[in-house]
């Protein structure tokens, strides 16, 4: 299958005080369309930084990142924002829902930039909330929902624009086991059922086990083996 994400010789460093701290070094990675990839590694290994670069939230110092054929490293800040709006769905550890908006409004938020008429937006939102089985909670504010429900709303928000890729940063990190299983089940369903490409950063081996493939990052360098198995990681 063709690679939807191509990362070529990407490096990233942050300046801390007077020092330049290398976070990612010469990363090369290809992610196939429809893959459900788990990115694992210890804290500070650069997982979230790599995810941010793939999602266009941060800029690489060196190298090229292509997503769906678009070289996002060459895009300007505003072009990158427009690209993100149409191509990337985000799932965060702490859900990052807007507390003053209802579940329905939170899911509708990314569609505000799509130019779709209100009626169509409402249909999309209803469909996305149906996908995560939360139609009956659409008028609830995030504060009125459990952690698992909030994360499901976040997933609905991530998929409502039908993005090219979904990126998830520790999506089960703040959930109890039952809710985590529910969320992972949904992600599996999005990958296998709808063919979505998902890149998930996680510390949780149980979450990683649900992914179709896994890559391991250590000190900013991808493991030599192109793919390691879950048991190898453990």
């Amino acid at each position: 299958m063709a690679a939807i994400v191509e990362i070529l010789e990407v490096s990233k460093a942050y300046r801390r005080g007077g020092y330049l701290l290398a976070v990612l070094t010469n990363i090369n990675l290809a992610i196939e369309t429809g893959d459900f990839l788990a990115l694992m590694g210890p804290s500070g290994s650069g997982k979230t930084t790599l995810l941010n670069l793939i999602a266009g939230l941060d800029q690489a110092d060196e190298g090229t990142i292509r997503v769906g054929g678009v070289d996002i490293t060459s895009l300007s800040e505003s072009d990158l924002a427009a690209w993100r709006a149409g191509n990337v769905g985000f799932i965060f550890q702490f859900y990052n829902l807007i507390p003053v908006l209802t579940a329905f409004e939170n899911v509708e938020l990314p569609l505000m930039l799509s130019g779709l008429p209100k009626k169509e937006r409402q249909e999309h939102v209803a469909m996305a909330l149906g996908l995560v089985n939360l139609q009956d909670r659409m008028d609830h504010y995030p504060g009125q929902l459990s952690g698992g429900q909030q994360q499901r709303v976040a997933i609905a928000r991530a998929v409502v624009t039908d993005p090219t890729i979904l990126v998830a940063d520790e999506p089960t990190g703040d959930l109890d086991r039952g809710s985590a299983e529910e969320v992972l089940g949904l992600m599996e369903q999005l990958s296998s059922g709808l063919g979505k490409t998902i890149i998930m950063v996680t510390h949780d081996p149980r979450a990683a086990r649900r992914a179709r493939s896994m890559r391991y990052l250590d000190k900013g360098v991808l493991a030599h083996a192109p793919q390691i198995t879950f048991s190898e990681y453990l």
């Binding site: 939230l57 941060d58 924002a81 993100r84 702490f94 990052n96 990314p110 505000m112």
Partner: protein
């Protein structure tokens, strides 16, 4: 939905938003009242007509001019009508009952001041009675005077008890006209002065001159003063506006102080609103990062923050403006003696609105910059 979001964000911290709105309302109220005080100070200037000149003693208004100047002024080219009068400076019953009272040549004076609207029958009665007087509606109301009432004023410049009969009550043509004044016949004053202090007789405090062409006011004024050059009582002739401005400029330092205070109030509330907005934005940097993540660009965030800031200030400004009217009325009741025309001018409301918009906009500048400059990764880290 973005408007709904703006509204809900504004009142996310209800107490903080309510206190800021209250602060803004009080600031606009104070600003509006101070501007109204300034406008009241200039009411005489604003009410002055372009076709009227005032001639007074060149040394000072305290010094008088002989009545004999009247005909010589009348002879100057461009002069259509000449009236005259003197400040009487009396009070009613007690010294605290102060109001403006003048001895005037009644016929020409009323002709020169069409803005004092007197019913025809009352005007006739006033002109016929040498002890008659005309009082403004507000003044009559203040002392419960009615037409044909006898009123005794106690003189200060011209000591003694002076008896008058209220023959007419005038209304201002509009609400910018001072209707707290008291006019009576200069002849009545002069006859009494002739008997009691003859050396002060046949003197007037000022001449009021009606012009045939206001465009020639400067030339006519110059011509009048030239007539009395090198006389024992030289004259100073100026437009009524300049004459009134002369009084206002005596209080220029106070007016400047009031203007400064009104500006300081706006600067203070600007800092308060800016602080509220800065706090609100600082608490929501993570949310702004989420918005950016979803593809919302800087202009959306700027619009949202600016909208919240303007919403708070507009709400406060609106309350402030609404409160200004009853507050001004209460103020007028208390200090009506000093400010006969004390009303909230449309210009004051425009200034209130401008101040509201400026405060809302300026207060949002730094928070907008902060929200726009936060990096997504940094903002998202704040949420964890």
């Amino acid at each position: 939905m973005l408007l709904r979001l703006l509204f809900r964000n504004t009142f996310r911290h209800r107490l903080r938003a309510a206190l800021t709105v209250c602060g803004m309302a009080v600031a606009i109220l104070a600003f509006g009242l101070l501007r109204t005080v300034i406008a009241a100070w200039y009411a005489g200037v604003e009410a002055s007509a372009a076709n009227r000149l005032v001639t007074r003693n060149a040394i000072s208004l305290v010094f008088t001019l002989p009545i004999s100047y009247k005909d010589r002024i009348r002879g100057v080219e461009g002069v259509k009508i000449v009236s005259y009068g003197a400040w009487f400076g009396a009070y009613y019953v007690e010294q605290k009952n102060f109001f403006a009272n003048f001895a005037v040549e009644p016929k020409t004076y009323l002709e020169l001041y069409p803005e004092f609207v007197v019913p025809a029958d009352q005007k006739e009665a006033f002109l016929r009675d040498r002890k008659g007087c005309v009082v403004g509606r507000k003044l009559a109301k203040r002392f419960n005077w009615r037409v044909n009432d006898t009123v005794t004023l106690i003189g200060t410049i011209f000591p003694g008890n002076w008896e008058f009969v209220v023959r007419a009550i005038y209304d201002g043509r509009d609400d910018t006209i001072d209707d707290t004044q008291f006019f009576f016949h200069w002849d009545y004053l002069n006859e009494t002065v002739k008997r009691t202090v003859p050396r002060r007789a046949d003197q007037v405090g000022f001449y009021m001159i009606g012009l045939s062409d206001p465009d020639h006011a400067a030339a006519t004024a110059k011509a009048i003063d030239a007539v009395f050059k090198n006389s024992y009582a030289e004259t100073l002739t100026e437009t009524e506006r300049s004459f009134q401005m002369g009084f206002v400029s005596m209080s220029e330092a106070i007016l400047t102080a009031i203007r400064l205070v009104s500006l300081v109030i706006i600067v203070i509330i600007m800092a308060v609103v800016a602080n509220t907005m800065a706090m609100s934005v600082r608490e929501r940097l993570g949310e702004f990062a989420v918005f950016k993540t979803l593809g919302f660009q800087g202009r959306y965030l700027a619009g949202m923050i600016l909208g919240e800031s303007l919403f708070i200030t507009t709400l406060g400004g609106l309350f402030g403006i609404l409160l200004t009217f009853p507050a001004a009325e209460a103020f007028r009741r208390e200090v009506g003696t000093w400010f006969p025309v004390f009303k909230v001018e449309p210009e004051t409301i425009y200034l209130d609105i401008a101040a509201t918009l400026i405060v809302g906009t300026v207060a949002a500048v730094l928070p907008v910059w902060r929200a726009m400059s936060v990096r997504i990764a940094e903002g998202l880290r704040r949420i964890g």
